[in-house]
Symmetry: C2
Subunit: 243 residues, 2 copies
């Protein structure tokens, strides 16, 4: 690849919320299960309840209280917790049904601009997820959705969950790049702040409906990120990638 004037060589992407719409996908695809087993629970509420257990589950790994455990396993534990919270004993369900539900995270739909934008960015940069998702989850998602990653990086490769420093710094090291040649692309100000503290460049992509119509956070850039864009193609424009 030609040298980039800004020195950025790799774009590392947050995935849940930034590349894919986890909330709508889980809400829609869990609906048949909910209709059978928890008819009072709406898909969006189920998705939100499942996702609320995401950060606390990773926190045990971040603090060292628990050895690194990949997200498929945390998702499964969190799923069982949500079901119990709603009075449904997971042990009463067939394993295949629980596993199928857990694998909905491998089948999330991208935002409408994601695939086209990634193709443009890939022509000029290394592109890879820097997600807390595990490799199989991200690979299966990419294969289904057509996300053209150059490699699948993130928590499982670095054995660390964002926003711990090791998640960013080990990713740069794996790529053989200094942190300043890496840019995190994310819809979350907190993730970008952690990446910036490690020396990464930063790009904020607004995804104002990630948490639904009444989303209260991450509606706008909260720092002077290196780039701020409403979509991946808009970021590609700013980075000078041909259409």
């Amino acid at each position: 690849m030609a040298a980039q004037p800004h020195g950025i060589q790799a774009l590392l992407f947050d995935v849940f919320g930034t590349v894919v719409d986890w909330r709508s996908s889980i809400a829609r695809d869990a609906a048949p299960f909910l209709a059978r087993h928890l008819p009072g629970l709406e898909g969006a509420a189920f998705a939100a309840a499942w996702r609320r257990r995401y950060q606390p589950a990773m926190e045990a790994v971040r603090t060292g209280a628990r050895p690194f455990t990949k997200l498929d396993i945390l998702h499964r534990e969190n799923l069982e917790g949500v079901l119990r919270d709603h009075g449904l004993d997971p042990a009463s369900l067939p394993e295949a049904e629980l596993d199928g539900l857990n694998r909905l995270w491998h089948r999330l739909d991208p935002w409408p601009d994601s695939v086209a934008g990634l193709h443009r960015l890939k022509a000029r940069f290394i592109i890879a997820p820097l997600s807390n998702g595990n490799i199989a989850l991200l690979l299966n998602m990419a294969k289904r959705a057509g996300l053209p990653w150059d490699a699948i990086l993130g928590a499982e490769a670095s054995q660390a969950y964002k926003p711990n420093r090791e998640a960013y710094l080990r990713t740069a090291d794996i790529l053989g790049l200094p942190p300043e040649a890496c840019m995190l692309v994310a819809a979350h100000n907190g993730d970008l702040a952690a990446a910036r503290r490690c020396g990464f460049r930063t790009a904020f992509i607004a995804r104002p409906t990630e948490y639904g119509p009444e989303q209260a956070k991450d509606l706008a850039a909260e720092q002077d990120w290196d780039f701020v864009a409403p979509s991946f193609p808009a970021l590609a424009d700013q980075l000078g990638c041909p259409a």
Copy 2:
């Protein structure tokens, strides 16, 4: 992806010799350096001498005598050893020249059929390297050559060098697949034998000039591998991948 009748979901590829022609690439691209510094040494002999140190260097990691060390570092140590063997002190050379030479392994040319064959195989299977190369090496190689991997796996992801069992078994585990859903594609009978002992399916691709015109080993399949083919497109034919 549709279920495969043979149950194979992922094709994992040996890279050096199977996907790319390391010998011709190194011989050609090291020639300007050799002309300047070691005018008596031919490119092919230099490539062979560098490669001869490959297995012994990994052996220290395989036996546990040395912690996992990525191939870029072993290649660099081996390079310095080869230069010393030929009376050239690496400390007398600019760091950029040594590093540029070491990065020739990131710029190997694929065999003429590799890219077209991988595209066909990718339409039906997960495709990823299961190489002793590190992630940056394999990613940079893929980006330059157009190798359309779904993910970059292998020694750095599994923290183990082939033919140790962990290299194969941890790769299957990362993919969330049982070993029998994984097939190693390789030009080396020994690599395939180790993969088979782990439960992998096996495909032998003949690369009878990997070691030059007088190659003496791996000219033919030495076991009844699941598939034997003269090229990646021929393997795609056998696996029923549309042209």
